[in-house]
């Protein structure tokens, strides 16, 4: 393969294409079938390695085991030594709050519980022109995400739903649509939006389990909610909303 094409491919997979390079690669892909096949092959590799760990490449089992971080299920001695006093304070605070709640706060409904544990997910989409008019992100997409950024979920949900209809292959849009629906407690629709996100390999797959679990809980599908939230809590990658997920799990 020519050096220029290889350079563009490397930049594409390193997410460092400039706008001019993106336009050049798009043009090359339309005229060069071999290059198009090559990028598809490498995209398959992207999906195949997406959830794989470097750890399995370490042959010495003791060395591999040592790389497991002390947090989560494989909690090691280091973090326990450093954190135990904080955990004790936190546990004591939780007990005080629970006692207070037992005596002074009337039992809240399940809906209130779910709403109170629905965390805001930051908009991680980055929009910019790819250098061609036809490739520019349409204004309705920008507007929909502006509503999302303002946490105006009742307006964001129908706006994002429209762009999901227009771009059904972009799973990212589906995820933000589902999150908006969870926020406005449209749980049945949220399940439809989020289930495909939780089933495919993508950047939102893990966190989609949290919102899908909330949607199941809100839709009175308790068993599915428990299974999904437990899958989220057990996920090997970073679990940002562990506290909220556990809270729901313990109260379902």
């Amino acid at each position: 393969m020519e050096n220029r094409s290889e350079h563009l491919l490397e930049a594409y997979f390193a997410h460092s294409l400039t706008e001019a390079e993106a336009a050049e690669l798009t043009s090359l892909l339309q005229s060069d079938q071999d290059l198009a096949a090559e990028i598809r092959f490498r995209q398959q590799i992207v999906r195949a390695v997406q959830d794989k760990s470097l750890r399995a490449g370490i042959e010495n089992p003791d060395w591999a085991k040592a790389t497991i971080p002390p947090s989560g299920s494989g909690a090691g001695p280091a973090i326990k030594r450093q954190m135990w006093s904080r955990y004790m304070y936190a546990a004591a605070a939780v007990v005080v709050v629970l006692v207070f709640a037992w005596f002074f706060i009337p039992a809240s409904s399940k809906a209130d519980l779910i709403a109170s544990q629905t965390a805001s997910f930051p908009n991680k989409m980055t929009f910019k022109s790819l250098g061609k008019e036809a490739l520019t992100v349409p204004p309705e997409v920008i507007q929909a995400f502006n509503l999302y950024d303002q946490q105006n979920y009742s307006a964001a949900a129908p706006a994002i739903e429209k762009i999901v209809s227009t771009y059904p292959d972009i799973v990212d849009y589906r995820f933000y649509w589902g999150v908006s629906l969870v926020h406005i407690q449209q749980y049945a629709q949220a399940i439809n939006a989020l289930e495909p996100v939780s089933l495919s390999q993508n950047d939102y797959q893990t966190v989609s389990l949290y919102y899908l679990g909330l949607a199941y809980a809100g839709n009175q599908e308790t068993d599915k909610a428990k299974t999904t939230l437990q899958r989220y809590v057990n996920a090997p990658d970073g679990v940002t909303y562990r506290k909220q997920a556990l809270h729901i799990l313990n109260n379902l």
Partner: protein, 179 residues
Amino acid sequence: MNGNQNELEAFRKNPNQTVSGLYQNCRPKFIGWGKDATRTSVHDLADIFQNAVMIMVLNLESGRLTELVGTLCTYLFGIGKNLLQAFRRKQGRIGLPGDDAFPYVKGTDAGAEEAMMIQESEAHLWARVDALGEPGRSLLILTYRDGLNSQEIADVLGYSSPEVVRQLRKRCLDKLRKQ
């Protein structure tokens, strides 16, 4: 033997204790630095630090790390900075038309069947990547999962130049195509 080499020797004698020490003392520094410098989330920074630890161990095992210029913590910072740089680029990622990096799985029966076939094909491809062994396996993960460029991979895996990485990756891709 100087103090830095003692850290490598200590790891070989008691890897668990040495790495626990790094998680206890070095990880908070890395996360603190990363938060201030890049406003990346704590969870993402913790994941990046963990990957840096695994790369350090892979480098020790392969013999690419035999001598420390600074401490293990500064070595991990060096790897972590490259990983973080790639991570931040990935966050700003936009796709090309027809980009199917994020396949959409339809809810219909036909879609579910299609999704299953895709999963099987990915599992088969992963088995071939895994069969490459080290360092090809790690090189492909760093390239296609983490989005590191050849220079960054040369830096973190201790190769002399990005060209060496490109040649190694080309050989791996050629093998995968032939399998």
